[in-house]
Amino acid sequence: MKNNAVPKNNAQIDPRVTFLFVFLLSAASVMLRDALTLVPVLVSAAVAAGWARAPFGTLLRRLRGLWAALLAVTLFQALFSGDVVSGLLTGAAVLERLLVLMLGGSLLAGYPGHALVQGMIQLRLPYQLAYMVSIGLRFLPRFRESFQDSLTAMQLRGVDFRRMKLRRRFKVYAYLLMPAVVSGVNSARKLSMAMELRGFGAYPERTAYLPLRMKERDWLAFAAVLLWAAALMAGQILWRIYT
């Protein structure tokens, strides 16, 4: 059988290589602190996402509320902390990190769920865990829907969010997130119960319909990721020595 678990839009790189790359990206974005040193990380994430034609735009639009709020908070903090320049630099670092994480997320979002799960399984992660991740992804839209329903129901009782102070509004949102989480978890639990009743998890190994196989280009990509990581680290060390 052909290796058709991997879609065309990610330039057909094995998801395991992408996992590694995204993991390294995330690690770098967490470890590096200042705006300047984060630039090469951001650039490489952007280049990879562009090359793989990752659905970054879609992700950006879906998370519009989130990053807009973060942008506002960051700017606010920057402008009202004592030193505006260092405040702005801190703000820039936060945004760069966020962008790196979102670019990494979009790289993964380009794969169909089963390819990601298969990748995790072949990396020897327990497949129950892998399935939980993919089920979690599936329930995200439902989660949002339930949140939206709650907002609607409250508005229909006459609650006007537009006239509410921002702090109060956030409190209500936080309050509403709980039932949304519970209903999401409940649905996931029901599904997993149904799966277990059909014998899911009864055997330690599973036969895969679409096993992943590393091909030449995957090995090349793997080597590129390793080289990139080495170069990034060397760059950081040199930078520290010379400044």
């Binding site: 609607t152 129901a153 508005q155 229909l156 609650v159």
Partner: protein
């Protein structure tokens, strides 16, 4: 409150469905049933009345006032809407909170909010559930709790989408009683229902929908 629906139209092109030129009125203190087969557009019509959907043509009047530009909360203050799926309407983890939270958000003091909540719960035979969580309620209990939530804010009109689903005979009778009480207070009631007997006993008129048209 008097409600006028004037020439309402709305389409779901992807489902090949359209509601077409629907007009009717409901007087203050009158109860009207909207009936029709599955998929005839009853729920869609209910959502148009309370503003969850915007009509693509026509308008809805509350006491003669065009509600086209009104926000959802503004309509919600005057009209109560029971979702066909009541669990979508419950937002709080606990029964009492479901009833006190929105009251407190709108400025009612906590003890007054709790007093009102107990009162409406007892009307629907739910007092003993006051300290329970909402997720484990049966469908009928969710239904009644959702109705309690509507009545708390003293609406001038009610739109109830399939209010008797999941209710046994005795609880159906409690609902009918609450409806009669609302009617005598001048609240108009629009009930969307399959339940022929309930409609016959509790509605003074029937509006029948077929393929998105009033027949």
């Amino acid at each position: 409150m008097r409600i006028d629906a004037e020439n309402l139209s709305f389409a779901y092109p992807e489902a090949g469905f359209r509601l077409d030129g629907v007009s009717f009125y409901v007087e203050s203190g009158e109860s009207v049933a909207i009936t029709g087969r599955n998929g005839s557009g009853k729920t869609t019509l209910g959502k148009l009345l309370c503003g969850l959907l915007k009509p693509q043509g026509g308008r809805v009047l509350f006491d003669g006032e065009d509600t086209s530009g009104w926000s959802l909360p503004r309509r919600g203050k005057r009209i109560g809407y029971l979702f066909q799926e009541p669990s979508k309407q419950l937002f709080a983890p606990a029964v009492m909170e479901e009833l006190t939270f929105t009251q407190e958000l709108m400025g009612t003091p906590a003890d007054e909010a709790a007093r009102r909540a107990y009162e409406v719960l007892s009307r629907f035979d739910l007092s003993k559930l006051a300290s329970q969580g909402t997720y484990t309620l049966s469908r009928g209990e969710k239904q009644r709790l959702a109705i309690c939530g509507l009545l708390l804010h003293s609406p001038e009109a009610l739109v109830l989408d399939e209010p008797t689903t999941g209710l046994d005979k005795r609880r159906g009778e409690l609902l009918a009683e609450a409806i009669r009480e609302c009617l005598s207070g001048g609240v108009s009631v629009i009930m969307i229902s399959h339940d022929r007997e309930f409609v016959k006993n509790n509605a003074s008129r029937e509006i029948r929908l077929e393929d998105g048209k009033v027949v």
